[in-house]
Subunit: 499 residues, 2 copies
């Protein structure tokens, strides 16, 4: 077999994925309501073609042949083969019947989850969740390598080479650190005012402002676009076509503005993966965690800096056409960083958010270490919220039923959010050694920041594993201290705590 | 072979076409500028899959087998097989090399046409046009059936069963009739004022008005959508997803308003083809001419009626927020039907438009009857404009170079526009025997009109040939008198001519 045959097959798979990407984007942004059944037929037809190639004879041949003749592959060919093989082996390790049972179970579980939410009653989800866990454990038994724990297997589905051992250390440090920070803020902090954040700013006014901001940050609108949707996402169709979606709330400008700044981080990543990887599985993010690190770098690192808002606030006031003229910059900036314990993860602020993740991580680990029964989960969930955040859910809807992930059997996914946050802060401190970030954020040219991220992260796509990528970019392995240091800097300044 | 195998293959072809339809719609409505090369790769990949099926072994088998066992097919299966076979035979009749030569020639011709336009110089297009004609004649030689003339073959590519013989009679009647009408209007008509039509009405104001109008006319926005584009079109992705596109000119409301009313006619057709034909080649329009008859029924039949505008004008005034408050209904209505000879087809009014088509028809016929050399064409073109419209192009750009069709070797296409117009008027007089159209247009419920068209035209899709469809709907074959009668009614009333 020739390398070009292998690459040609990868390209056809990519072309099918591009079509599927546009169809999915269209489904989420404006497909006529009544068309969903027809759309499902088209998408599953094309997905079938894609999947047939993914595990098809050409891939088998390529994996066998180049396994014996690695020297006949270029550098790109070698990396692509590794990525392809990981997926391929994972597929073939599992009996088909199990995969079918699994996808049926998750479909039922999603339905049960929705019913349970309506009734705010975990017991209606209990059976389905138990089944999802059982089947996931069965999958693990086929995937598990010697040195791995069961939960390691799940982690690696989303974050290659990440281990429970590492996360245990990292998360306990972060958890204790954040709890300490929150105590100081409670006792010694001055609460910012936030009343004016609900002043009405139209979608058009918000959009005008944030479109300029994401362009400043480096999102290229000649190679992308921005549309409205219900559940915001970013999608990289190809190197020249990266699409952001957003939702707006005219009574809460942070929803739309911080939301699009977040998605733009994903988009800038996709726009700056090296073109030489196009049409291969290398032309995508290194992992869920690394992708999230780019969106959170925008939203929580840059989006938390006084220097950034000092520069942007006058334009925001202009776009708001007078609504904020009576609000000083200091008041406005502080209002963005108010922190308060909340029960719902997706409503959490940038200080408490990570505690929501750690709670889920600890519970998932207990599940797969057989340290808890499914019946006990709501109890455990509520206790941890009380223990870490000092508030207790009144029902399962604002507790264990709030997230969709477990109904899809996506165990091991949640840590990606926290990893992204920690990566983002670690990248910031590494960047600061080379760039005066606040000076750049005060200027009219943000490109040094975007270029640093492209040089150190974006360009590599999936060519490096996350741990390697972060090590090469920052000179050390994942280190949670940077997150704590960053949170302390931001929140102590906003809450006027000196020490 | 089983019928369901045959239908399953047709369905897969349709699924590919749906994906291609969305990709094309996306390309025209908002794909990032820089993405066109990537998009071309995806589309041609999927088109290749589609084409391979269209002429592939499954089709060969189906045509052979069911050719001998027609009784094993359902009614739908039988019609589908006929449609498939027409395309299939047309493909296989022609040597592959010729098709390749043909598509290369048309690509070159398009480029030459654009260059010639820039220089307003036909001689730069001459060679390419000559080549397009030569290759088209070669194609004809493979497709021609005994009784057909060369030009019949071209006509039938767009309008099955239409003949040059019929068009000669019809067009000479229409041409002479319109020329007479125009003389009376010139000599005895009172010219309406039109100055206020250029008053600025924003896109949002125009859109608000016309969206309600197209919904009144029967376009279902739960099963469709409306987007902006440069070259407006309507596309039926599937039964539940029909998309209109439009362009707007705030200094000329007729562009956007009449444009969308026109596209809605295509859209309403696509939305009302019987669902039982879904996933077969029957689920589309009967021909170019019939499709155009539905858009022109909206734009030129309904859109020309006093009763329609009497009902809609107050809402237009409301949407225009005062701009037209000083304009009486009579003045406004009359302004829409002003007529004036023009050199450019797409800018022509509803009275002179058809003369532009007849000129192209006569010239195309001369070409394929070898009655003219390519060198002589600009001369012939200009003479005919002078003879029929009384104006003469000053250069080739406002003359023979104005339309793209010949650069794509689309000979035989132009008559569809005129056929659509004649069908539309003939349908109107047939409808009037059952429905008081003006009463309906004066009411809040236009559905009787839409339902009549669905009952007589829409539902059949491509199950009937155009001539059969028109005969069944109106009780007679194509009759140009209805067009002339309609034009006289409208224009004599607007120009206040009594006889």
């Amino acid at each position: 077999m020739k390398e070009q045959e292998f690459l040609a097959e990868l390209k056809e798979m990519d072309l099918l994925q591009q079509a599927l990407g546009i169809l999915e984007w269209d489904t989420q942004t404006g497909m006529p309501e009544e068309a969903s059944n027809y759309r499902a037929e088209v998408s599953s037809f094309l997905y079938g073609k894609y999947f047939a190639k993914k595990i098809g004879p050409k891939m088998t041949e390529a994996i066998d042949y180049f396994g014996q003749h690695p020297d006949e592959l270029s550098e790109i060919g070698k990396i692509a083969l590794t990525l392809v093989k990981e997926e391929y082996d994972r597929q073939y390790a599992v009996p088909n019947e199990l995969m079918i049972e699994y996808s049926k179970a998750t479909a039922d579980a999603h339905y049960a989850w929705q019913k349970a939410r309506k009734r705010k009653d975990f017991s209606l989800f209990y059976g389905a969740l138990k089944e999802n866990i059982r089947l996931t454990k069965e999958l693990i038994s086929y995937w598990k390598k010697d040195e791995e724990t069961d939960y390691d297997v799940l982690l690696n589905l989303y974050e290659p080479n990440m281990t429970t051992k590492t996360l245990d250390e990292v998360f306990s440090t972060v958890r204790d650190g954040i709890i300490k920070l929150r105590e100081k803020i409670e006792t010694r902090g001055t609460k910012p005012r936030t009343d004016f954040l609900s002043r009405e700013m139209s979608k058009e006014q918000q959009r005008k402002f944030v479109i300029k901001v994401v362009e400043d940050l480096g999102f290229d609108l000649d190679r992308g676009r921005v549309d409205d949707t219900v559940h915001p996402f970013a999608t990289g169709i190809n190197h020249q076509d990266v699409r952001l979606t957003n939702r707006w709330n005219k009574k809460d400008l942070t929803t739309g503005i911080m939301g699009l700044i977040h998605e733009a981080g994903h988009g800038i990543y996709e726009q700056n993966i090296s073109e030489k990887f196009e049409y291969t599985p290398i032309h995508e993010g290194a992992s869920m965690g690394v992708h999230e690190s780019q969106s959170l770098f925008n939203e929580l690192v840059i989006g938390s800096r006084r220097s950034f808002w000092q520069k942007q606030y006058p334009y925001l006031q202009k776009c708001a056409q007078g609504i904020f003229d009576d609000i000083s910059f200091e008041d406005f900036y502080a209002s963005l960083k108010q922190t308060q314990a909340s029960l719902i993860r997706i409503e959490a602020d940038s200080l408490t958010y990570i505690l929501h993740i750690i709670i889920r991580y600890e519970i998932e680990k207990m599940i797969f270490n057989e340290e808890v029964t499914v019946e006990e989960l709501p109890q455990v969930w509520n206790d941890k919220y009380e223990q870490y955040l000092g508030i207790r859910p009144q029902d399962d809807l604002e507790g264990i039923l709030q997230d969709v992930h477990w109904s899809a059997a996506e165990f091991g996914y949640f840590p990606s959010y926290a990893l992204g946050y920690m990566y983002a802060c670690q990248l910031y401190y590494a960047m600061k050694k080379e760039i005066d970030v606040d000076k750049v954020l005060g200027s009219d040219d943000y490109s040094p920041i975007r270029k640093w991220l492209t040089r150190n992260i974006h360009q590599y796509g999936a060519a490096k594993k996350p741990n390697q990528l972060i090590y090469d970019a920052t000179g050390e392995a994942l280190n949670p201290q940077y997150l704590l240091e960053y949170l302390q800097e931001i929140y102590f300044s906003v809450y006027q705590i000196n020490e």
